[in-house]
Subunit: 357 residues, 2 copies
């Protein structure tokens, strides 16, 4: 049983999250999407480059281009193994960047791709990956228009690393951001969580688990567009795809950036039984496991039901309202369980699963 | 003395350059910017993704965005060592992408940056690199607006790889491309060649050479804009920055894409004495050595002198007219020497210097 004192201590700890970088060397935690990664980004990158949108770090920059706005994003993919049930590094590299654009409210249009290849990589392997990228791009309605290839000697990279960047065009009526979020807004999740991270982990083959888990890697463009078509665009307030660091990290970013409370209902958050089983066996909280084919949206209460129904009709049968924006617990995430209990969900400190994307 | 038969054989060989990919595995040559790299790009990437501009492979895609056109490009940087006289991987990653935009006729605006870090990299090293990127971006008038960081375990990458992509806006009057090039057009080069490749090679420290050679890494934006300001924009027909594969490769691309002849005057192509000395000692042709701070422009004859003078006034004192587009030898590059001889300059087969950028 959690005591009130425990909860208060937890709140203090969570509130006191000043992101300091005290490390001398890069560690795997710095690549996790958790606190260590946030500290590195803050203390090194934002320090030098500045934050494009003051006070809020999103996965895509929004840029004014004459009459319109474009979204612009990048991600590198270093997943190991490079093939795993449900997808490969190639599909991931397309879908991940497409999804960063889609959750910026943009319609993805163009992508760049940069390959870093290890000497000795089988050309057939490369061909397969590239063909998978093309298929994924076609499915997402995006064109790969520019690219680059570097080869490094054997041992200087691990098979293949792929960087993609992407540009999307933002329709005029859309305006997303933490500043749009209001108390009472509903939090939607488009599908079940934790499949991608567990699929990759099991595919590594060094665990005594053989579960039939497939990555959820997919473009969410169609779902996002279906939702926008069903509601007043202004009612969609905030979106994010819970990749590295999972739902838990993204929910914490939402709470931090809005300085409002995020209350989630555990029983509404779908986790496939085989995924939950694998997480339980390994002692991993599915809330922190990476996803590559779902997204979270904060929607005005009057549009939430229509948005969920649009998602369900558009191919996300398990879309649901998983929570609400509250004015208590500003900056924090709380999760209620069906038995009446509530726990705080902190930001991930370090990812249990490096090289997951 | 070169016989006529030699020359004809050479022409046949050069014309017969069908780019076939017969390899099973990726080799360092595939990352060279030479023929093997072109074969890989053709047989694997273009095969899957298609060519954005039919018949011509440039470093940036040109995209229509409502009222305007943008240029969009990407490059990964894997240079070793990561610091060398004149620049570091950070400056290279900014200037290289800026230059790909500038030679597309675009004014560079925004950049993305993706870091792949090896576990154990010193944070101070990273900070230094990132600060150098910021300075280079400021100098080039470009903003780094989005980014990503991945960390891989020790041994899975070599210190740091950086991918950058960039977006530039193309002023309305500019129209570049192989199809714009006419017989009689003049070929301009903005500065001396081969310094970057030799600086990096010597910095590796495994050669018995200690020459004071600095990389030419720099943004050419200012030079390109100065040139455009001095001439009718329509008179600038084609531009390219001779990075991997050097001037020789870029000149061959010009000949191939225009199906015209490229005649270069060896004595007009500036190579610093210490660079030439190092090339001679190592038996490397400076024409094939990578550059990171100069560009080639094909300019209408009536504007060529004004363009050169603009470049000289804008900080490129060694800018010169190095050649001309001719109707003989379609698809080929010939280099004349001051003694009246002429040799054909084929495309590079494999780069003598891997991991040069």
């Amino acid at each position: 049983m959690r005591t009130e004192e425990d909860t208060l201590n937890q709140i203090d700890r969570a509130r006191g999250r000043r992101l300091e970088l005290n490390d001398d060397r890069v560690s795997l935690a710095h690549g996790s999407g958790g606190k260590a990664a946030a500290a590195l980004i803050q203390a090194v990158f934002i320090e030098a480059f500045g934050a494009p949108t003051p006070g809020e770090l999103t996965d895509a920059a929004i840029l004014d281009v004459g009459q319109g706005r474009i979204a612009y994003t990048t991600d590198s993919y270093v997943v190991q193994p490079i093939r795993f049930p449900g997808a490969s590094i190639g599909e991931l590299a397309v879908n991940g960047t497409v999804n960063d654009l889609a959750v910026s409210g943009a319609v993805p249009q163009w992508m760049s791709v940069g390959f870093i290849l290890e000497e000795g990589l089988a050309i057939d392997e490369l061909r397969t990956i590239v063909a998978q990228m093309r298929r994924a791009a076609d499915l997402a309605g995006v064109r790969i228009v520019t690219g680059d290839t570097k080869v490094v000697p054997r041992g200087a990279a691990d098979q293949i690393f792929i960087n993609t960047s992407g540009i999307g065009v933002i329709p005029a009526q859309r305006c997303l951001g933490a500043s749009q979020v209001r108390v009472g807004d509903q939090i939607l999740l488009s599908g079940p969580i934790a499949a991608h991270g567990m699929a990759v982990m099991i595919a590594r083959g060094n665990l005594a688990i053989h579960a039939a888990i497939e990555s959820d890697s997919a473009a969410v463009t169609g779902l996002v567009e279906a939702m926008y078509a069903a509601v007043d665009p202004a009612d969609v307030r905030w979106m994010r795809d819970p990749t590295r660091g999972g739902l838990g990290t993204v929910a914490n970013e939402l709470a931090r950036d809005t300085d409002l409370g995020v209350m989630l209902a555990e029983e509404e958050i779908s986790v496939a039984p085989e995924v939950r089983g694998a997480c339980d066996m390994l002692g991993i909280d599915p809330f922190y496991v990476a996803n590559e084919g779902c997204f979270i949206a904060v929607v005005a209460p009057e549009s939430a039901q229509a948005a969920v129904e649009a998602l369900r009709s558009a191919g996300a049968p398990q879309a649901s309202i998983i929570g609400e924006i509250i004015d208590e617990l500003p900056g924090l995430v709380a999760v209620s369980n069906p038995f009446g209990g509530t726990r705080l969900m902190d930001m991930l400190v370090t990812d249990p699963l490096p090289r997951i994307c």
